[in-house]
Symmetry: C2
Subunit: 523 residues, 2 copies
């Protein structure tokens, strides 16, 4: 049972032993700087050390909040202490955290949540009637009519019904069953829960989980934690990060030598890559999953974030049903949504749902059992999810304001997606695919060989070295491509497009200036 030793990695996503995907010493140094380590006084050996800890947890990496973010925190503290820098603030473009970037909450959503939190407000004339109606409906579903009670482990019934109705509308009438809906603590929780149930076997029978490269590092982190086998399939950068089924075939064939590929994860719209999959591509993927007997995980948290006029979001569920009964009654699918992204950007409340299709009834029982150990998803996240799937409709008092706020956020995001693509592509040595959806740019950057050598001297991945320099010189915090995975010898970074338009322009200009200087320095 030496699990870490049994960890087999496929593809060329480089793995380092440190806690944050870099060399241990530098990451530890950083952690100690932040954690204010005191001198040790004649201490016994610790029970829990890097040597004795769970090796699977040690193997976990999560770049989005990794060393670059620790460094950003240190710099912020230095700025607060008055230490002079070539900039006055750190811009955290590392994470899709809309409201931290100044996006205002959707008024209706917060009104309903405030009413649920403090029901005395139901008597207040300053809240609209439609918000009160929603709040009353949510409250009556909770024990003691209070959000202070636990809900059912699967999530409160009436919200699961609203989610099912939303999916049915979204998918043009393809039915959704509230019994198949599980409310979650953000999408991350749903994804890791279903993976936890799926992983089994040892040696060559160990479960293989196929993930796109570049990927959102939740996937690789959970795969490490569960000691499953990560099976990489590469998105096609030359073709706007499209998913090619031939690449899936290559990956699954090679994986069969090492493990039992059982799960196929799709992120659509893509994170960090922003591509929106065509209907044809989704059909091909579903057919492939059917053929290869793979359990499908469709991460669709950016379903409202589609900007390219030529692109449209198609849910895996809808395409599955339209492909006919052989697929719709056989392919096992879990799809995920979240309150954190879209136009609402309610990250903090940790709301989300998972819809499962063709899950064996006994497994549903197992799933509810597993969820029940953690009692229930946070009630405020559940309530927020309800407003996302059950927003004001034409004729309701709050509709006009809601619609205006929603369109304003999405319209701005579309503008910023185009702006970012255009500006990056004006910089020599940067190439950026169109941002069809989601909320990130993932430009490819040219790193001169002298800079690669300098990075190696610092025991850093070249793009980590690049991003550290960018942070130190401009205050802009982005995540190196190595944290998401990329083809060997290529370098990228992920940057959110969430700052307000004017600020985003400044950020892009600063990246441009930095990049040109960087190329000159390491020419």
């Amino acid at each position: 049972m030496q699990r870490a030793a049994a960890l087999v990695r496929l593809g060329c996503c480089p793995r380092t032993p440190g806690p944050w995907g870099r060399s241990q010493s530098s990451a530890a140094a950083e952690a100690s700087a932040v954690l204010k380590v005191r001198p040790e006084r004649s201490r016994r050996e610790r029970i829990l050390t890097l040597e004795s800890m769970n090796p699977q947890v040690k193997a976990v990496e999560y770049a989005v909040r990794g060393p670059i973010v620790l460094k950003a925190g240190e710099i912020e503290l230095e700025l607060q202490r008055g230490i002079k820098k070539p900039f006055t603030e750190v811009i955290r473009a590392n994470i899709g955290d809309a409201q931290a970037m100044g996006q205002q909450p959707i008024t209706f959503l917060r009104q309903v949540m405030a009413l649920c939190t403090y029901p005395n407000l139901l008597d207040s004339p300053s809240f609209p009637e439609d918000a009160k109606k929603r709040a009353r409906r949510i409250l009556q579903a909770w024990g003691g009519n209070s959000l202070g009670s636990y809900s059912a482990s699967q999530g409160v019934n009436c919200i699961r019904e609203d989610v099912a109705a939303y999916i049915t509308r979204r998918d043009g009438g393809v039915p959704a069953d509230p019994d198949n809906i599980y409310l979650t603590t953000g999408a991350s929780d749903g994804i890791s829960t279903i993976l936890k149930i799926l992983v089994s076997g040892g040696g060559k029978s160990r479960t293989g989980v196929m993930i796109p490269i570049p990927q959102y590092p939740l996937y690789s982190a959970v795969i490490s934690e569960l000691d499953a086998i990560q099976v990489n399939y590469y998105l096609d950068e030359e073709n706007c990060w499209a998913l090619n089924v031939n690449e899936l075939r290559r990956a699954v064939q090679e994986a069969k030598d090492h493990c039992d590929p059982k799960v196929l994860c799709i992120i659509n719209p893509g994170n960090p890559t922003g591509q929106v999959q065509s209907r044809k591509c989704i059909e091909d993927v579903i057919h492939f999953a059917w053929e290869e007997k793979l359990f499908l995980l469709a991460d669709e948290v950016y379903q409202d974030n589609v900007y390219s006029p030529d692109c449209k979001f198609h849910s895996f569920k809808k395409v599955l049903y339209e492909m006919g009964p052989e697929y719709s009654s056989n392919v096992e699918l879990a799809s995920f949504h979240s309150t954190s992204k879209g136009y609402m950007g309610e990250c903090g409340y940790r709301g989300g749902y998972m819809e499962v299709i063709n899950l064996h009834p006994e497994i549903k029982g197992q799933l509810v059992k597993l969820l029940s150990v953690r009692l229930c998803p946070p009630v405020s996240g559940q309530a927020a999810m309800d407003i996302v799937v059950n927003p004001p409709v034409p004729g309701e008092e709050s509709f006009e304001l809601f619609h205006r706020e929603k369109e304003s956020v999405l319209g701005n995001l579309a503008k910023k997606a185009k702006l970012t693509e255009d500006l990056f592509n004006q910089v020599p040595g940067i190439h950026c695919n169109p941002l069809q959806g989601a909320m990130y740019a993932f430009p490819r950057i040219f790193i001169p060989s002298k800079a690669v050598e300098a990075a190696q001297a610092h025991k850093m991945a070249p793009d980590m070295f690049y991003c550290m320099k960018l942070l130190e010189e401009t205050g802009i915090c982005v995540v190196p491509g190595s944290g998401f995975g990329q083809r060997e010898g290529t370098y990228h970074f992920r940057m959110t497009i969430l700052p307000p338009v004017e600020k985003l322009k400044t950020v892009l200009q600063k990246v441009k200036d930095f990049h040109i200087k960087f190329l000159e320095k390491y020419a």
Copy 2:
């Protein structure tokens, strides 16, 4: 790597293969009844089945929301459909869910949370100034001054500072460091996270986790999930469920043949047993942990729930420091608190914290890394935790109301604890230890051998059979002792004391009548 096969269980806590701790067939039948299984049409074999799923997840049991609760749900549906029963409502005394039982939220807590949720209310004259002050302080700590942003993965700084100040006050000046505080998604999340990091090794080196029997089944569930080795130590029922260090010694010695005992879990005040540990007992436990090199987990979520005038809550942290530097700089301790219990009973928001002592700095880095994968604990739970540790003080506008509400809840609980003990002990064949703290009775029940035979005929544990009959005949839902573990041949159930006094009296009377009838029937 056949992990399930390697699972060695110690002690006599019976394990069954079903998903809810009973025979598979009956649990599955129940699950299907609830999940409305449709007839299968010419389906391919599923990828995810009971046979192919993660065997560690299959081994998980969680009685508090197990088959008895599924049955309660079915009965509620039947009542709604007008089916006649010998009762008109189901009383869910299975879970410590105070507000579902009618307990009112603490006004100040909800006011602050409503202000944080919908900051427009900061202009409203109907909210007190001290609540506004708290809300402003919490909001300024979040990116964009909005609870919609992610917080730091460890929890927002100012709330961790408030937690540290609370602990310092509580422990009479023993210092607490905000760097050692991790905000969590309820206490369950903290406990499973720290256990996840602690578990390692294979075969006889596999980590052994010592837990009390009876235990709160989160522990056994997480141990199953992590494929760790459960090491049972028995609380002394004859001695008011006290923890005896000799029993710890027996358990650890026997365990060393099978595994590497590395963790000792303590629940104080006890769940389900309600005992409050004496200072002497805590000292003995700490000395034992020091001696045996065990990492201590102190589950102290009921620290505000102490009722017996002879008992007082002592935190492990405080006793550890008072024992001198050999202990306070060597013993590794994680202790847990929650917003769900105490006098506030805010279960739904999923708030909690963990304090770690003597955690290796490198492990702290690993912990933050692991937490960062799930981004952050729910912000509303963090805000609720802040009010619990930073409530109104004398002189503040809201103090008087807050104090009255708090004392009313705790006073009532103390009354109900005594009432429950007294009434149970009047019933022949029921013995109930004093409820010194927490919010449950865990009475021992005599089950006649004819009833044991009848239970075996139904493939049920005798106390499950008893609790099912109680539910079917009275509508009262309690959890069988077998879900918590108990000495072989003894039977118990856990019942909350949360219903309002008059209702609790009725409940107790009904249990009494049922028990007498049950004894007669199976005499």
